[in-house]
C-alpha cells in the first residue's frame, strides 16, 4: 500500500476529473447564481467511521482545560469551551491526530468544527457496528456483526431528509453492516432488516451524476422504457398475461416489493437537479466491485468526488463511509492494521507506545489528506447564506474509544451545522471529571500510566438523539417502546469494567446533548 501525499491544489480541486472548476460564486453561470440564492438549501449528512479506535486521549483531544465552562447534564456536570488551535510550522494543530496544513484546516474551519469527548456505549460493544445504532446482539461477541434494527442514517433518509424521491437515497461506501436498512419500508420494522446494500463506486457515481446538458429540442422527448417495465410487472402480478401467469400470494408480495423500488427509480428520474450539477463532468473508470476494500487512499478522493457530485446535483443527501484502511504503510511489518490496533492496547505487544504511534500517524494522515479534503471542498461551494458545508453535518466516529473493543470515550468530530442547527467551534467534554478514571483490563501499562483521563461519560446514543433532532426527525420514527435512547436494552455483564446506570443513561437520551443545538 502506498499512501499518497496530496497538495493544496488537490485539496481544492477534487481528486479526479469530475469537478472541472471550484464552484466559486463568480464562476457560476448567471442563472445558476440566481437559482442558488433563491432555493432553500437542502440539508445533508456525511458519516465517516474508522476501524478499531485505539487512539489514546492525549493524542486525540486538546487538553481538557480548553473545555472549562461547566454544562449541566442529568447524569453529572459536563464541560465545554471554545475550540482553539495553534499553528506549528505549516500545520494547524488541535491535537496529534487533528492536525493538517494550515491552509486546509483554516481558523475559519475550526470555527465550523466540534469535538465531542466522553461519549460511551453503556454496554459491552466489542467490534459491533454500533456507531449508527446497530446494536445487534452486542452482548455476544460471537454475533457481533448481526443487525437488529434500522440504523439512524436510514431513519433520516426515510423521513425528513428528502421531500420527494431522490436519485440515490443513500451513498454507501463499504459500510458492511454499519448501516442497516428495512427490507420492506412499507412494512416497517416488522418486515425485517438487512445490511444496507452495497454497490461499486462507479454505480454510485452513475446514479448521482446527472448530465444536465439541455436537449436540442429537435426530437420529442421519449418516455423512459422504465414505464413499460413497471407495466409489465403490474400485468404479470394482476394476471393480465393470461392463465399461464397465475401467481401465489407470496409471489405477489415479492413482486410488490420489487415494483415499489422500481417506482422509486421512476420517480427519481423525474426529480429536479441541483443547480451546481452543471459544474461536473461525467467520469468513468471508477472501481465497480463493491466488495474489495473500497477505502484505499486512491479511492478516498474519488469517494469524496462522488459525495460532492451527489450533493451538487442534489441526487443524494446522505453518505456513509467506512474507512477500513490504516492510511500508513508503516503497519505492514507489524502485521497490519488489525494487529497493530489490538497490540497497541496489549501488554503482550511489548511496545504499545510504538504501535500506538503508528495508529496516530495513520489517523492523522487520513484526517489531513482525505477527511479535510472533503470538508474544504464543501466549504468552497456557496449555498444560501453560507456554504454547502454549513448546510451539512459531517461527522467522524470511531469503532472504539482509546482501547480497541471498548466502547467508552468514543471520539466524535463534526464539521458544519446542518443548516444552522448546531453551535460550532466548541470542544465538549461529557466525562464526569469528579470520579476516578476507568482503568480497564486491556489498557496497556503505558496507557494506564500516561492517560488517566478515561472517565465515565454520557451515552453515545444521546448523540444520535442530537443529530436526529437537528434534522427534525420525529421521535415516533425511531424510538422503541419504553426507551428514550436509539438502542434497545443490552444487559450489562457483571464482569464489565464499568457498571453503567443504564436506566439513567437511557432517560438522558430523551434530550439532545446539552449545548450542541441552537435553540
Amino acid at each position: 500500500m502506498t499512501v499518497r501525499k496530496f497538495g493544496r491544489r488537490w485539496m481544492l480541486m477534487g481528486g479526479g476529473a469530475a469537478i472541472a472548476i471550484p464552484a466559486l460564486p463568480s464562476l457560476l453561470p448567471r442563472g445558476h447564481r440566481a437559482a442558488a440564492q433563491g432555493i432553500p438549501a437542502p440539508r445533508r449528512m456525511v458519516v465517516f467511521t474508522t476501524e478499531h479506535g485505539g487512539i489514546w486521549a492525549p493524542s486525540m483531544y486538546p487538553d481538557q482545560s480548553m473545555a472549562s465552562e461547566t454544562v449541566p447534564h442529568p447524569l453529572h456536570t459536563t464541560h465545554a469551551g471554545p475550540l482553539t488551535s495553534r499553528v506549528e510550522g505549516g500545520d494547524r494543530v488541535i491535537s496529534d491526530v487533528l492536525r493538517a496544513p494550515s491552509d486546509v484546516l483554516t481558523e475559519s474551519l475550526v470555527g465550523k468544527m466540534n469535538i465531542l469527548r466522553g461519549l460511551d456505549v453503556p454496554f459491552h460493544s466489542g467490534h459491533a457496528r454500533h456507531l449508527l445504532g446497530n446494536y445487534g446482539r452486542m452482548s455476544n461477541d460471537g454475533d457481533e456483526f448481526e443487525e437488529n434494527r434500522e440504523t439512524a442514517d436510514q431513519v433520516l433518509a426515510r423521513t425528513t431528509l428528502y421531500a420527494g424521491t431522490p436519485r440515490r437515497r443513500f451513498m454507501n461506501f463499504g459500510s458492511r453492516g454499519l448501516s442497516i436498512e428495512l427490507i420492506d419500508p412499507s412494512a416497517g420494522p416488522a418486515g425485517g432488516v438487512r445490511p444496507a446494500e452495497e454497490v461499486g463506486m462507479q454505480a454510485i457515481w452513475n446514479s448521482v451524476y446527472v448530465d444536465v446538458e439541455p436537449p436540442d429540442g429537435s426530437e420529442p422527448e421519449r418516455p423512459d422504457p422504465i414505464n413499460a417495465v413497471f407495466d409489465s410487472y403490474q400485468r404479470l402480478q394482476s394476471g393480465a398475461f393470461g392463465a399461464g401467469a397465475r401467481l401465489g400470494a407470496q409471489d405477489r408480495q415479492r413482486l410488490n416489493r420489487y415494483m415499489d423500488r422500481l417506482n422509486d427509480i421512476r420517480a427519481a428520474l423525474s426529480s429536479s437537479v441541483g443547480v451546481q450539477c452543471s459544474e461536473l463532468s461525467d467520469r468513468s473508470g471508477l472501481p465497480r466491485d463493491a466488495y474489495a476494500s473500497m477505502y484505499t487512499p486512491d479511492n478516498a478522493i474519488a469517494i469524496n468526488d462522488i459525495i460532492m457530485a451527489g450533493f451538487m446535483c442534489d441526487s443524494s443527501r446522505l453518505a456513509v463511509v467506512r474507512v477500513d484502511n490504516p492510511w500508513t504503510d508503516a503497519m505492514e511489518s507489524d502485521g497490519g492494521y488489525h494487529e497493530v490496533a489490538h497490540n497497541a492496547a496489549s501488554l503482550e505487544s511489548g511496545t504499545p507506545e510504538r504501535l500506538h504511534g503508528l495508529l496516530v500517524e495513520g489517523k492523522r494522515n487520513w484526517f489531513a489528506q482525505a477527511f479535510m479534503q472533503l470538508i474544504s471542498r464543501l466549504d468552497t461551494i456557496p449555498e444560501g447564506e453560507g456554504t454547502m458545508l454549513d448546510n451539512t453535518l459531517v461527522w467522524w466516529g470511531q469503532e472504539a474509544g482509546p482501547v480497541t473493543h471498548h466502547g467508552d470515550n468514543i471520539p466524535i468530530i463534526t464539521f458544519g451545522s446542518a443548516g444552522g442547527r448546531f453551535n460550532t467551534g466548541r470542544y465538549f467534554d461529557f466525562r464526569n471529571r469528579d470520579v476516578d478514571p476507568l482503568v480497564p483490563m486491556y489498557a496497556s501499562e503505558a496507557e494506564r500510566n500516561s492517560n488517566q483521563q478515561r472517565r465515565v461519560g454520557v451515552s453515545l446514543f444521546q448523540w444520535t438523539t442530537t443529530y436526529l433532532d437537528a434534522f427534525d426527525v420525529p421521535r415516533r420514527a425511531w424510538q422503541l417502546p419504553g426507551r428514550s435512547a436509539f438502542t434497545g436494552t443490552i444487559p450489562l455483564q457483571p464482569w464489565y469494567y464499568y457498571q453503567y446506570d443504564q436506566g439513567a443513561m437511557d432517560r438522558s437520551c430523551e434530550s439532545p446533548l446539552p449545548g450542541l443545538l441552537r435553540s
Binding site: H124, N140, D141, R169, A203, P225, V229, E339
Partner: protein
C-alpha cells in the same frame, strides 16, 4: 521475543471459542427427535404423507444472473460478438449487489443458508437490474449486434418495418422469458413499447431490448401454481445444476414435453450432471459449504517466521485459488468417476496441477483432468490446505507460522460435522492468562487459554479436533516438529508434535487428519452434514427437518450406503416434490 500473535489467537477465541451454560451433550450423534437437546443429527425421518416443497417465487442469484446473460448472448450471436457485448456490460453486471447468506434464527452462526437463498431486492438491486437491462439495450441495438443476431433489417435507420422488430421479439422473447411468449405478451410489447408503425426507430429497438431484460420473467423464476410446466421444469433443472438457463437440448425436451416424463427427466439429469457446466454450480455449493470466503489466504503471510516456514516455496496469489480449486476438482473427479461421498471425504488422491500446492503435498503436479496419489497422512479432505485454512467465521488478516487449533476445530465442528456450538459468551477473552508464544506451542497455549471455568465445556470438543491437525503447519505443510521463532525468523525451539486427540465420536484417541476424518465418517456426522448442506443448497432455503425429512432421509441413506455421488445428487432432482410446486 515474538509475542504479537497472541492477540490474533485471543480474537479467535472471542469470536468462536468458548461457551457456557447448559448445553447438554451437543456433540453426541442422534437422530431427529432423539434424546438430548442440541445433539448432532445423523439420521432423518420421512413424514407421512410427504409434504410438497415450499418454493415461493425466487429471483435469480447474482451468479445465475451473470451466467444467464452470458448464455442468452451466446444463443443470440456467435461467441466473438457475444463476448464483446458481455465485455460492454461487465460494469453493470459487477454492480449487481452481492447476495448475502440469509441468517436463519434457528441456525447457528456458520450454518447459514446459501447465497442463492437471498431473496431480498433492495433499491440498489433494482437499480442495478435496470442499469443492466439499459446497458444490454444499448449494446444489443448497435449495428454490429443487430447484424450478429441476423437482424440486419433493423440496421438501416428509418427503413425498418414492424415485421422486422417482430422478428427481434420472436428471437429475444423466448430466451428472456425462458419460455415461449404468449400472444398477450407480444401484444403488450408491440402496443406499449415499440408501437409498431411503418417505421421503427433505433430507439424502439433499444427500448424493447431493455424491457425484455428488465421484465420479471427474466429476473425471477416465475412459476405457476400446481404442477410445473415443461419449461418451468427445465428451468428448475438447469438453474439447479448449471446455475443458468436451459441449453438447446433441454429446451427441446421442454418443447416436446419429454422433460416431464420420468425417462426424459432422468436422462436430462444425467446429461446435465455429466456436463462440464455442472462444475460452476458445484463450485458454488462447495465454496459456501466450506466457507472459502473465509479462507486464511496462504499467500497473505507476514513476518520472518512466515518467510521461514515458506522458504523454498514459490507463493503467489495463484496458490489461494489453487487450494479452493483442488477441492472442487476433487469433487468433480469423484462425481465423474462414479465415486461416493466417502471417496471424496476420505480421498487418497489430489487433482492439483498447481506446482506449489503439489510441492506442499509432496507430490508431482497432476496432469489436467488426472489425479495423483497423496501420502497417507494427506488422506481425506481435512488434510488439504483449503480446509486446513478455512474458517467458520472470520478469516485472519494474515498468516504466519502459528497454527490455530481452535479455529480449525470450530470449522470442522460447525461446517463438517454440523455440531451445534453455542457462541462464545461476552467477555470470553477477559482475564485470560498471559501466554508467552516465544516458548509455548500452539497446543499448550490453547490448553492454557481455554482450560479455565466456562471455556472448558465446549473447548473439550473443539480443541482436540484442532489438535488432531497439528501435524500440519500454518499453510498445510506436514511437519514433524513445531518450530518457535524469534523476531528475525530464527528457530529458537522445536517442540514435538502431539496430534493425539480424544473425540466425542470415538472411544479411542485418534491421531492425525485421516483418523479424524475416519471418525467423523463412521459416526455418520460427515455424511449427514453434507446432506443438510446439499438439501439447503438445492432448495434455496434452510432445510426444515420435518417438512424436508423425506429428501433428507433419502439422500442421507444413499450417502451412508456409499452410493455414487452422482446418484446422491440426482436424488433431490428425481424426487417428485422437486417437480411439483408447493407453497
Amino acid at each position: 521475543m515474538r509475542r504479537t500473535n497472541i492477540a490474533a489467537l485471543l480474537v479467535a477465541i472471542v469470536g468462536v471459542g468458548a461457551c457456557t451454560g447448559d448445553i447438554g451433550d451437543p456433540l453426541r450423534p442422534t437422530n431427529v427427535g432423539g434424546e438430548g437437546t442440541g445433539a448432532t443429527i445423523v439420521d432423518f425421518t420421512c413424514g407421512d404423507p410427504a409434504p410438497l416443497i415450499d418454493a415461493p417465487l425466487r429471483r435469480l442469484s447474482r451468479r445465475q444472473l451473470r451466467n444467464t446473460v452470458g448464455d442468452v448472448l451466446r444463443q443470440l450471436m456467435p461467441p466473438g460478438e457475444a463476448n464483446g457485448v458481455l465485455a460492454a456490460v461487465e460494469g453493470e453486471l459487477g454492480a449487481i449487489p452481492r447476495d448475502q447468506r440469509p441468517v436463519d434464527s434457528e441456525q447457528q452462526t456458520g450454518q447459514q443458508a446459501f447465497y442463492r437463498a437471498d431473496q431480498n431486492v433492495g433499491s440498489a438491486a433494482v437499480e442495478a437490474h435496470y442499469g443492466l437491462a439499459t446497458a444490454l439495450g444499448e449494446a444489443l441495438s448497435s449495428d454490429a449486434s443487430l447484424d450478429a443476431m441476423g437482424l440486419g433489417c433493423l440496421v438501416a435507420e428509418g427503413t425498418s418495418d414492424a415485421a422486422c422488430i417482430d422478428s427481434l421479439v420472436q428471437l429475444l422473447g423466448p430466451v428472456t422469458h425462458r419460455r415461449p411468449l404468449g400472444d398477450d405478451e407480444r401484444a403488450f410489447l408491440r402496443d406499449e413499447v415499440y408501437l409498431a408503425g411503418d417505421v421503427v426507430s433505433r430507439d424502439d429497438v433499444r427500448d424493447v431490448i431493455t424491457v425484455l431484460f428488465a421484465q420479471p420473467n427474466f429476473l425471477f423464476h416465475v412459476e405457476t401454481d400446481g404442477e410445473l410446466t415443461p419449461y418451468e421444469a427445465a428451468n428448475r433443472l438447469s438453474y439447479h445444476l448449471w446455475d443458468s438457463m436451459p441449453d438447446a437440448e433441454l429446451w427441446a425436451a421442454a418443447e416436446s414435453g419429454e422433460v416431464l416424463t420420468s425417462t426424459g427427466w432422468e436422462a436430462q439429469v444425467e446429461r446435465l450432471l455429466a456436463s462440464e457446466r455442472a462444475r460452476d454450480a458445484i463450485e458454488g455449493f462447495l465454496f459456501e459449504w466450506f466457507r472459502f470466503d473465509q479462507l486464511d489466504l496462504p499467500s497473505r503471510g507476514t513476518g520472518a517466521d512466515y518467510e521461514a516456514i515458506t522458504a523454498g516455496l514459490e507463493i503467489d496469489e495463484s496458490l489461494d485459488d489453487a487450494v479452493v480449486a483442488e477441492i472442487v476438482d476433487l469433487f468433480m473427479h469423484v462425481l465423474r468417476s462414479g465415486g461416493s461421498f466417502e471417496d471424496f471425504f476420505l480421498s487418497e488422491v489430489t487433482p492439483t496441477s498447481h506446482p506449489t500446492l503439489a510441492q506442499i503435498y509432496g507430490v508431482a503436479p497432476a496432469a489436467p483432468g488426472e489425479v495423483v496419489p497423496v501420502p497417507p497422512e494427506r488422506r481425506s479432505i481435512l488434510a488439504r490446505t483449503g480446509l486446513l485454512l478455512s474458517r467458520a467465521e472470520i478469516a485472519l488478516p494474515t498468516v504466519n507460522s502459528i497454527t490455530h487449533p481452535i479455529l480449525r476445530g470450530v470449522f470442522i465442528r460447525r461446517q463438517i460435522a454440523c455440531d451445534l456450538l453455542p457462541n462464545a459468551p461476552a467477555g470470553a477473552m477477559d482475564g485470560l492468562p498471559t501466554v508467552d508464544r516465544a516458548t509455548t506451542g500452539s497446543r499448550e497455549a490453547t490448553e492454557i487459554l481455554t482450560s479455565a471455568g466456562a471455556c472448558a465445556a465446549c473447548h473439550s470438543a473443539i480443541n482436540p479436533t484442532g489438535f488432531a491437525l497439528e501435524g500440519f503447519d500454518a499453510i498445510g505443510q506436514v511437519r514433524g516438529v513445531e518450530p518457535l521463532f524469534d523476531g528475525d525468523g530464527n528457530v529458537t525451539m522445536e517442540l514435538a508434535i502431539d496430534d493425539e486427540a480424544v473425540l466425542p465420536e470415538s472411544a479411542l484417541p485418534v491421531s492425525g487428519a485421516a483418523a479424524l476424518a475416519d471418525a467423523l465418517m463412521s459416526s455418520e456426522k460427515a455424511g449427514a452434514c453434507f446432506t443438510r448442506h446439499y438439501v439447503r443448497f438445492s432448495l434455496g432455503r434452510t432445510e426444515r427437518l420435518e417438512e424436508d425429512g423425506c429428501i433428507l432421509e433419502r439422500i442421507d441413506d444413499a450417502v451412508d450406503e456409499g452410493r455414487p455421488l452422482r446418484e446422491v445428487m440426482s436424488l433431490v432432482l428425481l424426487d417428485n416434490n422437486f417437480r411439483v410446486r408447493g407453497g
